[in-house]
């Protein structure tokens, strides 16, 4: 039985949705604004996007962000999937504690994580650079991937793997021919989420990146600190665009039936 939602509620929720998307929508809109100093609108232009191509620092940062995101995603997905498998299929003492501990990185404020990692690298005398960024990104992505894959694993009928065993497949073969194909959409969704998180991360990256390793968000931050300029809008719009594509793809995959 469907119930009608009260008019007022629908209006309120609609307004909130608009507010939720307004800032970024305005940002993207203004990235096409020919007027240099925001405020007034003076025509559509791709000038600011074109200028991005003339900025080697921006292009370098974009490239670094993509490289870091790719590398950390691969590692985090691998490790996170293994963790999820261990938690879902394993029978051992301290399982719930371990699972709870997995959520700790997600819940800890980013600034504390960033600062703590900085200290670790300093104490170990590891120079800050691409390596430290990747290491940090993998660390905060493992729990996200694990949680996504775990959810999917728990939703899977366990008797599917048992059926494979009875039909003559050993555990490794059963994993390869039954579990993995059914898990794949979930793993992929987790990977895409990790990619996005890595690409967009600012706080932790800010603390563990060195002078020669500036990712795009860190670059945007310093640009904003220096003063507003329209190219920032264009860079941000690019980030938003990439993120949106990735998220929509992840949602499609996660929702898909095997």
């Amino acid at each position: 039985m469907t119930r009608r939602l009260p008019r007022a509620l629908v209006h309120l929720v609609g307004a909130i949705f608009v507010c939720l998307h307004l800032p970024v929508a305005v940002l993207v809109l203004y990235s096409f604004n020919a007027s240099r100093y925001a405020a007034g609108w003076s025509g559509v232009t791709l000038e600011w996007y074109r200028r991005l191509l003339d900025r080697p620092d921006i292009l370098r940062a974009l490239r670094l962000s993509l490289e870091v995101a790719s590398l950390s995603t691969i590692l985090a997905t691998l490790l996170g999937t293994l963790v999820a498998l261990g938690l879902a299929r394993g029978r051992f003492r301290g399982r719930s504690v371990t699972e709870g501990g997995l959520y700790l990185p997600i819940v800890t404020p980013e600034i504390i994580v960033g600062v703590a990692m900085l200290i670790l690298f300093a104490a170990l005398r590891v120079p800050l650079g691409v390596g430290t960024i990747v290491v940090a990104h993998v660390a905060f992505n493992i729990p996200f991937v694990a949680v996504v894959v775990l959810a999917r694993l728990r939703g899977m009928d366990r008797s599917l793997e048992e059926a494979a065993l009875v039909l003559g497949a050993d555990e490794a073969t059963a994993f390869r021919r039954v579990t993995l194909p059914l898990l794949a959409p979930g793993v992929l969704a987790g990977a895409l989420l990790a990619f996005t998180l890595s690409l967009d991360d600012f706080v932790i990256t800010f603390f563990v990146s060195g002078p020669g390793s500036t990712t795009l968000p860190v670059l945007v931050y310093s640009m904003v600190r220096r003063g507003i300029e329209p190219t920032i809008n264009a860079v941000s719009a690019v980030l938003v665009f990439v993120t949106t594509l990735t998220i929509v793809a992840a949602e499609r995959l996660a929702a898909r039936r095997a």
């Binding site: 009928d157 008797s159 599917l160 048992e162 059926a163 494979a164 065993l165 009875v166 039909l167 003559g168 497949a169 050993d170 555990e171 073969t173 021919r177 039954v178 194909p181 059914l182 039936r257 095997a258």
Partner: protein, 375 residues
């Protein structure tokens, strides 16, 4: 069944999960070709027992032996045992078509590629699914009954020595379930394959099985043919779990009273004494429990009881129309309530002469008393 050595043997097998004993020193044998059922309520250990046979669980370190064909298989993985299995949820691989599902086991056993399509087709025909129509379909495109048949075909195509079935018919509607019961029984006979069947539905077990192991609280309460289980239940649990039963309690009060083979007189807690077949274990004064099935009871007007039969007076409380039978619910003088099952010869033409409130004698022959052991 057969005089050859058993195909499956459980020798005092135990399995615990943490502090909980799921299976407690269970022993039984299964013979080649028989249809053997594990019957019991939820939590009795029947599914764990099946999984121990399948190899998904291993017995506790000192928990007995599971033997197949004489060899101890405790340490063997499921893929190292000569078994096939049909799961309660069917467990069809959703990402594979029907024919790939059925072919899966053949591929794992390295059956030559050329042979596979033929065997798949024959297996599907065996479970009455037209290969042409169904081979390419995916599980989510099939009905419950069709999925069940595919699960069966997938297990049968490997021609295992033992087929394990874990409540496979639970999700089907009544009519389909009864059809499948007969089909499974037929397959068991035609293929001469040993079936081990788990169910909580006692009617299902009685219909299909050659022998039934009734389980309760991690133990086997009674093992026997359907007739033995139904007509000679050993414990109150078994008597009550299968079909309906009336229970009487009393004390043994001495031999005598005539009747073939000798009888004992049992004095119930209240009401007249009745005669019970002689049991070696009887002692004067010992407590006795007996079970009598409704269909072994009869109703008579006061004074009309046949000689030699036990009789207890009561008042008719309810006459229940069940179609095939009529159940008459009688409140005895002691306050106990018993059900008497009488054949329905057509209430419209030949109605029962009993009405609510009538006084009647509930009667039965001494040899129809089933003396129960302590649970």
């Amino acid at each position: 069944m057969t005089a050859s050595p058993p195909l499956v043997e459980f020798r005092r097998v135990s399995k615990s999960f943490g502090d909980v004993r799921a299976v407690d020193a269970v022993s039984f044998s299964i013979f080649r070709g028989e249809f053997f059922s594990l019957l019991g309520p939820s939590g009795c250990g029947k599914t764990t027992t099946l999984r121990l046979l399948a190899g998904f669980e291993a017995p506790d370190p000192d928990g007995g032996e599971v033997r197949i064909d004489g060899a101890v298989v405790n340490a063997r993985r499921p893929y190292e045992r000569p078994i096939g299995m049909v799961f309660q949820s069917y467990a069809l691989f959703p990402h594979l078509s029907v024919e790939r599902n059925v072919a899966f086991g053949l591929e794992q056993h390295k059956v030559p590629r050329a042979e596979i399509p033929g065997r798949v087709e024959r297996a599907l025909e065996l479970v009455r699914l037209a290969p042409g129509t169904f081979a390419r379909r995916r599980p989510h495109q099939l009905s419950g009954g069709q999925r069940q048949r595919v699960a069966l075909a997938r297990a049968l195509v490997l021609e295992p020595e033992i087929l394990l079935l874990d409540e496979p018919l639970g999700a089907l509607d009544l009519k389909l379930r009864k059809e499948m019961q007969l089909e499974l029984k037929a397959l068991n006979r035609e293929l001469a394959m040993t079936f081990v069947y788990v169910t909580h539905d006692q009617e299902e077990a009685l219909t299909m099985s050659d022998r039934i192991a009734v389980m309760s609280e991690a133990r086997v309460a009674q093992l026997g043919t359907p007739a033995e289980i139904y007509e000679n239940p050993r414990t109150e649990f078994v008597a009550g779990f299968i079909g309906e039963v009336n229970l009487f309690q009393g004390r043994a009060a001495g031999q005598g009273g005539g009747g073939a083979g000798g009888t004992w007189t049992v004095v119930p807690t209240s009401g007249p004494a009745f005669q019970v077949p002689h049991q070696a274990a009887f002692e004067e004064g010992a407590p006795v429990r007996i079970a009598v099935r409704p269909e072994w009871l009869d109703l008579h007007r006061p004074g009309e009881v046949p000689a030699g039969e036990n009789a207890v007076p009561g008042v008719i409380r309810e006459v229940v129309y069940l179609g095939e039978t009529m159940h008459v619910v009688v409140t005895l003088a002691s306050g106990a309530v018993v059900r008497v099952a009488l054949r329905n010869e057509g209430q419209l033409l030949k109605p029962l002469p009993w009405r609510r409130g009538d006084a009647a004698l509930v009667a039965w022959r001494p040899e129809d008393c089933q003396v129960l052991e302590a649970d």
